[in-house]
Symmetry: C2
Subunit: 194 residues, 2 copies
């Protein structure tokens, strides 16, 4: 049972009464969210294009992967391509799903589909007026070092960068860490286009 | 300027009017959250203890690292130790900060301090009655493979496991991927205790 408290542009807050698998009844504050998509744009030279973005809720400037909220009925890959063009003016020949993460499942159903974007070419997209962001390009290995140093703190960006990095160094279905002979640049060079 | 809409147990929702660095005025739906702490409990044999947990907002059962919301004024490491004992009945000799992630900075200030817990010993903690969770222990490499296969989707858990895994295989301040000779088990064996 859900008692609606607020319906906004992005956020829908309600109180939901449920019975846990253990039989205990609880009332939870739940944010229903339309979901989102994000892309790790990996260039053939082993660099990634990120965005430096002002996040009021996040307390200032953040370095993030390009991302946006799903429009009604919009497939996540379409949303990812749209945001990639709007935010960093790139199109990807190939979008490969890395994961679909739950950002914080204790209080929201928000799910972000994370894609690896390769075969990148320029577009003439423009950002939304209510966003403030600047593209920033750096080696994937540097971005991973910034994650590990605590300089990149956005959850979806950490997940996307580390998953892309592991995919660039080891086979996904093999034992992770079992192979590490290929560098990010070497892997990306196999991508056609760009 | 903030107009409060709802103040609940975990979630505080308000509308905040701000001016972006670009000069554009916007009104944002913002959830103010007390913050949280989480631990990757890494045993000396290279396994981790996770929790299988029911998440109503997340649509069912999730495999997560032990975590909880900060009490007022509670230091994150104290919260992490408390949740480690309550959720998986473990105490850590050493808690090392991996990162403090923003779960979803577009609409909340929630920040989760992620720790690596080593030197693990049993405790007699018990879970809160309003949670439903079961400890589950597996090799860190298996947990990382589940992340990469899309079977573990919780954002903080993905960040914590992948950061712990990278720390177990490469030096944090060196070029990531530059060294990969040490396995997770070998690193953990250096930890005293347990």
């Amino acid at each position: 049972m859900r008692k609606s408290i607020y319906s906004g542009r992005i956020v829908n807050l309600g109180l939901e009464s449920i019975t846990l698998p253990s039989g205990v009844d609880v009332e939870l504050e739940i944010i229903r969210h339309p979901g989102a998509a994000a892309v790790v744009p990996l260039h053939a030279d082993g660099t990634v294009t990120l965005v430096r973005q002002y996040r009021h809720a996040g307390g200032g400037m953040h370095i993030e992967i390009p991302a946006g909220v799903l429009e009604p009925e919009e497939p996540p890959a379409v949303c990812a391509a749209r945001e990639l063009s709007e935010e960093v003016q790139l199109a990807a020949e190939t979008l490969t799903l890395l994961s679909a993460i739950h950002t914080t499942p204790g209080f929201t159903d928000e799910r972000i589909h994370l894609f690896l974007g390769t075969g990148l070419t320029p577009t003439d997209g423009t950002p939304d007026a209510d966003e403030y962001l600047q593209p920033i390009r750096m080696p994937l290995t540097k971005a991973v070092a910034m994650v590990r140093a605590g300089q990149i703190t956005d959850g979806k960006t950490i997940a996307g960068l580390l998953l892309a990095y592991l995919d660039s160094t080891t086979e996904r279905d093999g034992a992770p860490g079992g192979r590490s002979s290929r560098s990010a640049a070497q892997t990306a060079k196999r991508t056609p286009g760009e």
